[in-house]
Amino acid sequence: MKNYLVKLILALILFIQAFNLYAVQRFPKPEFETKYSQPTMQTPCPRSVYMEYFDVAVLVASLSLITWLILKKRSRQGVFWTTIFSLLYFGFYRKGCICAVGSLQNVTMALFNPDYYIPITAIAFFIIPLVFTMFYGRTFCAGICPLGAIQDIFVLRPMPLKQWVQTILGLIPYIYLGLAVLYAATGTDFIVCRYDPFVGIFRHNGTFMMFAIGGVLLLIGVFVARPYCRFLCPYGVLLNFVSRVSKNHLSIAPGKCIECRLCENSCPFGAINKPTPTRNVEKRNVMVKRFAIYFVITPLLILLGGWTGSRFHENLAKVHPKVRLANELLLANNNKISSLSMEISTFKSMGKPLDKLYAEANIIIDKFYIGGWILGGFLGLVFGLTLVNLSVFQYRTDYTTNKGTCFSCARCVDFCPVKK
C-alpha cells in the first residue's frame, strides 16, 4: 500500500512536470497563427567532454549498484529508488540524451559512414548495458534506462496479456530495429530519437505528436506495463538476445523453487515461465517433424522477406529528404501538384541542376534496394525463428524468469517465501 502511494505521488509529480510546458516567458515567443511552428529543441546543449565521461561513470556506477541490488540484495525497494535516480539524472537532468537506445543509431551510422565521427561516450552507452546484460541480465532495463524508468512509475494496475498477443506485438521491435538501422545506415534520419516518446517530457519541449505519443504510452502503461519497452524498443531486441546467455540472471527463488505459485502473477511483463504439467505434450515425432518444417522454411521466409522488402525500397527511400525533394520536384514538373513547397522554392533558388539531384536521389534509392533486401530478410528470419521457437517445447519444473524478456525489476522476489 505504501509503495503504491509513493508511486502514485511520483506519477502525479511527473504529470505536474507537464505544466512547465505552459510556463510563460518574460518575452513570450511570437504567437504566429500561420502554419509556422516554433522550432522545437531536438537535442540539448553540447556538454563538455569531461562531463560526458562523467555521464559514462554515472552509467557504470548506477548499473553496478542496481545489479548488486538485484542479484545480491534482491531488493525491489532498492531497484525502485535507483529507478527514481536514473529518471532524474538520465531523464530530467541529462534530458534523455545520450541514451543507449538511441546510441545504436550512432553506432550503425559510424559503421556505414566513414565520415561520421562517433563520440566515445556514444559507443560506451551502446556497449556497457550490453556487457552488463551479457553477464547479469537486463539490469539496465530494470531501472537505469530513463525510458523504462518513467514507464515503471506508471505500472499501477498491470493486467496480464495473452501469450499470443505478446508474441505478435513482440515482433514490432524487430521491425522498428530494422528500420532504425536502415535509416541510420543510409544517413536518412535517427528515427528512434525522432519518435522517442518521453524525451519531450524530459526536455519540457517537443512537438505535439511527441507529447501525444508519450502521454498515450504512459496511460497504456498503467494497465499494460511498459508498452514501449516490450513492444517498441529496438535496443530491447539486442538486450533480449544478449540476456539469454547471461549466467548470473536474476532467479525468482534464491534457492530451490517450492512451486508455491505465489509469484505466478507477480510479473507485470509476463516474463515468468511456469512449470509445465507434463514432460511431453505431443508425440516426439510430430514435434520433430514440425520443427524440421519450420527450420526448412525459415530460409524461404528470409528470401520472401528480402524480396518483399526490395519491392518496397522506393517507399522506404521516400523518408530520405533528398529523395523526397526529388519526388516532389518530379511531381511539380509533371504538374501533378499545383503549389510549390518551400523546399522546392529553396532548391530552385539555389540554381543546382535538377539532373544532379535526380542522380543523387537514384544513388540513395539504390542503397535502399539493398537495404530493403536486408531488412526484409532480417524480418523473414525473425518470423521464421519465432515459428521455430513456438514449436520447441521446453519442459520446466520450476517457476523461472524468461531471460530474454525479463527486465530484472525484482518485483517477483518479494513474492517468494524461499530464503537463502
Partner: protein, 327 residues
Amino acid sequence: MKQKLVIALSLILLIGVIFLIYNDLFNGNPADSTNATEYNLEKLKQIDSSLICYNEVITIDLTMESVNALTIDSNSNIYVAGDNEIQIFDKTLQKTHTIKLDSSANCLAVFDNTLYLGVGNYVEVYTSKGVKLSRWKSFNSKGYITSIAVNKTNVYAADAENKAILRYNLNGVLLNVIGKKDKDKSIDGFIIPSMYFDLAISAENELWVANPGKHELINFTEKGDFRTSWGIASMQTTGFAGCCNPIHFCMLSNGSFVTFEKGLDRIKLHDQTGKLECIVASFSDANAQALDNCSIGARVHDLATDLQGNIYALDAKDKKIRVFSRK
C-alpha cells in the same frame, strides 16, 4: 470482462500510436504551398469589428515627401513636421501657412503659441508664426530626440540614443535626466531596440513615457521618481505585440491612452488603468505594401488628440492625417 475491455482499449491505443508513427514517417511533410517561415501577420491583424469604436471621418492630404510628427494646440490648429518644414492647418483643416526649417524635425510640441522641435540631438524653439527663438544646447553629441512634450513649467524631450528623458525649463535649462537605470529608485531603465521612444503629458500634468522593449508605459514624477506603469507583452489586442511596442502614444483629456503598435499597425484605446477599451483603427488591408517599403517603417509616425476627443494619426505611407471620431 472489465479487464479484457481495458486491455483491448490499451492495445487499440498502442496500435494507434504505431500508426501515428508510421503515418508521420512515410506520409509526413506533404508538399505545402505556404512558406512556413514567412513573416505573415495577416491573421493577427484581423480585428473583431465589434471591438472597433471609432470611425475614420476625415483625411487630410499632405504635400510632403516624408512626414515625421504631428501635434495639435489648444485652438485645434494642427501642426505637421516633415521634410524641412512645418505645415499648419486651422480647425477648418485649411492649411494656413508653412514654416521652413534648416533641418527636418523629428518631433514637435506646441504650447502657448510657441513651437518646440526636436531636431537631431537638440531642441529648437519657434513662434507659431515661424520666427526662430532659440536653439538649446544639446545634452550630448550622441543624442537623438524622438518625442517632445510641454506644459506650463517643463519641456520633456525623449532622447532615444541616451535612453533618457531630458527635463528642461521653458528657457532651455536642463533640470534633470529621468529614467536612467537606478536600483535605489526601482528604475530598470529604458529598452529601446529601435528609434521609437515616445512620451506625453496628461491633462493632470503627469509625465508618461513608453518603454517599448518592456512593452510598458511608465509614469514618472517630474523629479524622475517612478510612480506606476502598465502594459504587457502579447500578440493579442490586450497587450503590445512584437519586440518593442507601443512606438507612439498620446493621451485624451480624460486620462485614456491612445497607442500605436508597429508590425500589426493598430491603434488602440486604453482606459486610465491601461485596460484595453477598444480598437481605434487597424491597417491590415494595406500593410503588405507598407512592409515592402523599408523607408517607411511603421505605418503611423505620430498620434495626437484634440479637446473633443478626436484622434489624429499621421499616416506615413499615404502622406495623410487620418482623423477618427468616436462612434
